[in-house]
């Protein structure tokens, strides 16, 4: 139990630092690389939560595919590869009170509703077989819809980005 908590604390600190750097750094490529830290940390947290299939999917899809898309987007839009001072709005400071108030509200609601409730440490673990039973059972219709969304997105992205 203690080891899990220490692991959680280290990974959580890493993720928070990474997330703060993503929204404050003045270099687009650095922001993408800090985002990798956050996504990898999230995958590690999924492992801590006994969700190994979601963790592997996170690594494959996010760190593998989405990050490459972001780096390509950075390259193709010819953002400055080095430091760039024009990344923030003129009213960027407005975001700080919004985020703080939002977090205060959520923290209040969370500590009221869950308090010190513990996660079950010996509960039944979810296996990958159960996930596939869910996807191809009760959630089959959303799965089909999702397939169509992906198809439309791929074709749409090609149509949008094509030079004609």
């Amino acid at each position: 139990m203690v080891a899990q908590n220490i692991g959680f604390a280290i990974i959580a600190a890493m993720m928070i630092v990474g997330a703060l750097r993503v929204v404050t750094t003045s270099n687009v490529v650095h922001a993408a690389l800090w985002l990798v830290v956050v996504l990898a940390g999230a995958a590690a947290q999924y492992i801590l939560l006994a969700a190994e299939f979601v963790a592997v999917t996170q690594v494959l899809v996010y760190i593998g595919a989405v990050m490459v898309l972001f780096l390509f987007g950075t390259m193709l839009t010819r953002s400055r590869i080095g430091r760039d001072s024009g990344l923030n709005n003129s009213y960027a400071k407005l975001g700080i009170p919004v985020a703080v108030v939002l977090f205060a509200a959520m923290a209040l609601a969370l500590s009221e509703s869950f308090g010190t409730e513990k996660l079950p440490s010996d509960g039944s673990l979810v296996t990958t077989q159960q996930i596939s039973d869910q996807i191809f059972g009760p959630y089959l219709l959303p799965f089909w819809a999702l397939s169509f969304v992906l198809l439309v997105a791929v074709i749409g992205a090609i149509v949008l980005a094509r030079k004609d």
């Binding site: 947290q45 987007g73 953002s79 990344l87 869950f114 979810v126």
Partner: protein, 99 residues
């Protein structure tokens, strides 16, 4: 492990993402902040899946990952198109719909 430690981490990531969406001008960075928000939601889903002991949360997390990939694909396609037409991806300059 408490339920709340994961929920607080997710709430913090969500708020950082919201700050990024408000503060950033570069469209690619706004998309990255949206990814932060989606990851926070995923963390919540997986934490609740373990708390309730069923696989629904995992299924939703997987669907969200797929939708996020589609969203980034279309979003970056749009950003590319905007860049090609306007030579800028600064969201402040896209004020063509202002009356």
């Amino acid at each position: 492990m408490l339920v709340n430690q994961f929920l607080f981490l997710a709430a913090l990531l969500f708020c950082i993402g919201v700050y990024g969406v408000i503060a950033r001008k570069n469209a690619v960075l706004v998309l990255m902040s949206i990814e932060l928000i989606l990851n926070a939601v995923n963390l919540n889903f997986v934490a609740f899946a373990l708390r309730n002991g069923n696989a629904d949360g995992h299924t939703f997390a997987l669907y969200i990952i797929a939708i996020a990939a589609a969203e980034v694909g279309v979003g970056l396609g749009l950003v590319l198109l905007i860049f090609r037409n306007r030579r800028t991806i600064s969201l402040d300059d896209l004020s063509g719909m202002k009356g």
